[in-house]
Amino acid sequence: MGRAAAYPLLMALPTQPRLARDLHPVAWWTWAVGLAVAATLTTNPLLLAVLVATSALVVMARRSDHPWARSFRLYLLLGLMIVVIRVAFRIVFGGVAYGRVLVDLPTVPLPDWVAGVQLLGPITQEALLAGLYDGLRLAAIVVCVGAANSLANPKRLLASVPPALYEIGTALVVAVTVFPQLADSARRVRSAQALRGDASGRVGRLRRFLVPVLEDALERSLALAAGMDARGYGRSGAATRGQRWTTGILLLAALCGLCVGTYALLDHTAPRWLAVPLLVAGTVTAVVGLVSAGRRVERSRYRPDRWRPAEVAVAASGIAVGVAVWRLGRTEPLVVYPSLSEMPYLTVLVLAGALVGLLPAVVAPPPRQPIAPPLEVG
């Protein structure tokens, strides 16, 4: 590698600021799921911390100002809570009877019928560490999902489902929208109910709150349904009876194949030929069925998100992290699953594998910023 080889790379470096655009939501989710898979495959706290830091850094670098982008902090807090709870449980319920005792708490005597459960008792280093590692793993997964949620508009993700699933996608989008509205009307009704006298018991109070909220929700959904219908939602395509049957049978067969295949894969006593081949066959049938269903849909997409090199790079980096940790779990098990009695450590290879996940912070384009709305008063 000489200077000559590095030169084109330098030339390719942008001299102008990069164009802002929103990355395809599926790319962000693939990346996040890759990281989350990596987190499930390890208990090394250092590696988990690297994964959490990676996703946090990418979120910092590439999130927008939209409301959903601000939720990342909540996921971090949730992760912290999970760790604390896991460790606390280990202390309260003890469980690990061996190892180095840190604090020797007395065991709380329990009646016979809860045999097998131990309250307090000596706290060992192993118990604490096992709780910590376990909690960290769960927290890392939650943070990865949170990262995807803050980077990609959840609604656009639902909107990019295949055409055959469009109706379900829209229903989900509407359901997602309804929740903030429900909270809104709940607040309104609560303050309105305070305006009239209150002589009812607890059931009565619940009723006087629920009745208007539910009536309101029902009226809103009817209005929305009427509006959507009037705008052409659910127009029937030009499918013949035969085509509908074909699609139906294909999807049913796919469902059966996937169920049996998954069962066989998880149950090791089932014959092996049932596992992977059926799973693959089921997936293929499902794809064919969806394509067949999608072909007769007359709908089109306005400015659909497109797959471009940046999307491929982001998705690939996530998959790479997942694959790398899975491979290293076989070649370097002591690093990926450290023993509870020794100090965990990282090798260069493991660190490098996890840090591939940082790539999106550079390769993904900066997000498009929404134009700031004027101050809302009222």
């Binding site: 609604k155 305006l195 209005a223 939602y233 089109s300 809302e376």
Partner: protein, 527 residues
């Protein structure tokens, strides 16, 4: 061309439309008018296909669009010819941003991508909302939302646009914007528009024909001047024309002004309302929602026996002010005193006894199955003697059946029921938030009488409203809010006369100090 032939529609026992024939020509704006509950929305729904699919009931007859019968087609199969905008635009939004909302209908029709792109741009320009394209729909103002809702059905290039009360929730300026947009569509694109509206004073000048539902299932369709000459629901300008005997009846303020030149009237007798003692006094109210300032140093006095109108555009802080005076909304600084007590420091029961509030959606207060139950619950809740609420209700609106369900009442009756429940706690101050929404002229006159009675009863009343004609009828004082601050306040006659968008029609025609039709009628009789 759209034709409705012998349309008959009935709920199980009650006929609503009885043999209606209506033909809509290309490029005309037809206004559907009539009293509340005569079936205006039903008539619109027949055209869109939402009736009877979303309403129940039985429908017979035929609807023809360009000679093709569409009566058996569901609304979605009519989406490319009939565009529908409902009463509440927000309730009909499916997507997040303006641009996606405009494209939604076209996506359903499966239009090619480049056509969609072009039409979205055209529509953005046509409605003057190009600068809003990436905005979140929920952050837009009411007028902007209504224009986006209209735009979102225009992109499919329908032949006819059906609108149900498009301006009822809007302040006067936003309403004018929306109506100007509609007129432009009719003139420039040859679009047929069918719209229902209670506030005739806003729409009549733009209408080519009026379709008046007579209430017995029939309709009268003719030019506005002809229909309005005998219509039971008319805007003040027509009342004035009728009283003065002008023929033909002027429909626009401009025509009326010309006709009014021949009128010589003695100046009206302006009786100063009795200046009662101040009941509620607020000083320097400041309220912030997060970082946005909703109220900024507002001073307000409500006097006993006085009706004060609170005006201002959508989002100016009217509702916030009302809830702050009531005490539920916490304030950052400032004082509220009702007879020496601060409602903000009391519990809910204490507040109710000082300040009564009827919220924007009066139905939020109601939760029981019958009117009698609601009244009994209100008596028990306020520890008032049994029958207090019912007798209050009978004074407000006599003759409501004890066994009827609150949801089955008309808008005006439901409002009266909510008001009666609130008044059961005997507050001295009564606050009403947008009470005129969905009321026709008769119901509004009834409400005006109720409000005047409350004032005669030594209550101090504050009414937040967009309805300038209602303000002219009931208000002694007017307070105008803008951006959380009081921009003008004083006697109604002076404040509304000074502002072109808040002036009632009579003031626009005859100039100040004229405010109401009954003053002119009295003056005409005196001469």
């Amino acid at each position: 061309m759209i034709e409705l032939r012998d349309i008959r529609f009935a709920y199980a026992d009650r006929p609503v439309l009885d043999g209606i024939d209506l033909t809509l020509e290309e490029g005309e704006l037809v206004l559907v008018s009539g009293r509340t509950g005569v079936g205006k929305s039903t008539l619109l729904g027949v055209l869109t296909g939402l009736v009877p699919r979303f309403s129940g009931g039985t429908l017979t007859g035929d609807v023809l669009i360009d000679g093709v019968s569409v009566i058996d087609r569901p609304p979605r199969e009519r989406a490319h010819v009939v565009g529908y905008v409902g009463q509440d635009p927000v309730a009909g939004f499916v997507t997040d941003t303006v641009e996606e909302e405009l494209a939604y209908g076209m996506e359903q029709l499966g239009l090619p991508a480049d056509t969609m792109r072009r039409r979205v741009e055209e529509t953005l320009d046509l409605l003057g909302i190009a600068d809003l394209r990436h905005r979140d729909l929920r952050t837009l103002s009411g007028g902007q939302q209504q224009r986006v809702a209209i735009g979102s059905v225009l992109t499919t290039h329908p032949r006819v646009l059906v609108l149900d009360e498009p301006t009822s929730a809007l302040d006067p300026t936003a309403a004018e914007d929306v109506l100007a947009t509609l007129t432009r569509l009719v003139h420039d694109l040859g679009l047929t528009v069918l719209l229902a509206e209670h506030r005739l004073e806003r729409v009549v000048p733009f209408a080519d024909r009026i379709c008046l539902l007579t209430g017995d299932g029939g309709i009268v369709v003719d030019s506005p001047a002809t229909v309005l000459a005998t219509s039971p629901v008319v805007p003040p300008i027509i009342e004035l024309g009728r009283a003065a005997g002008w023929a033909p009846l002027p429909l626009s303020v401009r025509d009326a002004r010309r006709a009014a030149r021949s009128l010589s009237l003695p100046p009206p007798e302006i009786a100063d309302p009795p200046a009662g003692p101040s009941v509620l006094s607020a000083r320097g109210l400041t309220v912030a929602h997060g970082r946005t300032v909703a109220l900024d140093g507002v001073d307000l006095d409500l006097r006993s026996g006085h009706v004060t109108a609170l005006m201002g555009r959508n989002g100016a802080g009217k509702s916030t002010l009302i809830w702050t005076l009531q005490g539920t909304q916490s304030r950052r600084s400032g004082t509220v005193a009702v007879g020496g007590a601060d409602p903000g420091r009391l519990d809910a029961a204490g507040r109710r006894a000082l300040v009564g509030l009827v919220p924007q959606t009066a139905a939020d207060l109601l939760y029981l199955e019958t009117v009698a139950d609601e009244c009994a619950a209100a008596d028990a809740g306020a520890s008032a003697p049994a029958g207090t609420c019912r007798s209050l209700l009978d004074r407000l609106v006599p003759g409501i059946d004890d066994t009827s369900h609150p949801r089955d009442l008309s808008e005006g009756q439901r409002l009266a029921l909510a008001l009666a429940i609130v008044l059961t706690a005997r507050p001295r101050v009564v606050l009403l938030d947008e009470p005129t929404r969905g009321l026709d002229y008769t119901a509004k006159a009834g409400l005006a009488r109720i409000v005047a009675d409350l004032a005669d009863d030594e209550h101090a009343v504050l009414v937040a409203t967009h309805d300038v004609e209602f303000v002219a009828t009931v208000a002694d004082d007017v307070v105008v809010l803008a951006d959380g601050q009081v921009v003008s306040s004083g006697p109604a006659r002076e404040v509304v006369a000074a502002s072109p968008s808040y002036a009632p029609q009579v003031t626009k025609i005859l100039g100040p100090p004229w405010l109401r039709v009954d003053e002119v009628v009295a003056a005409l009789e005196a001469t």
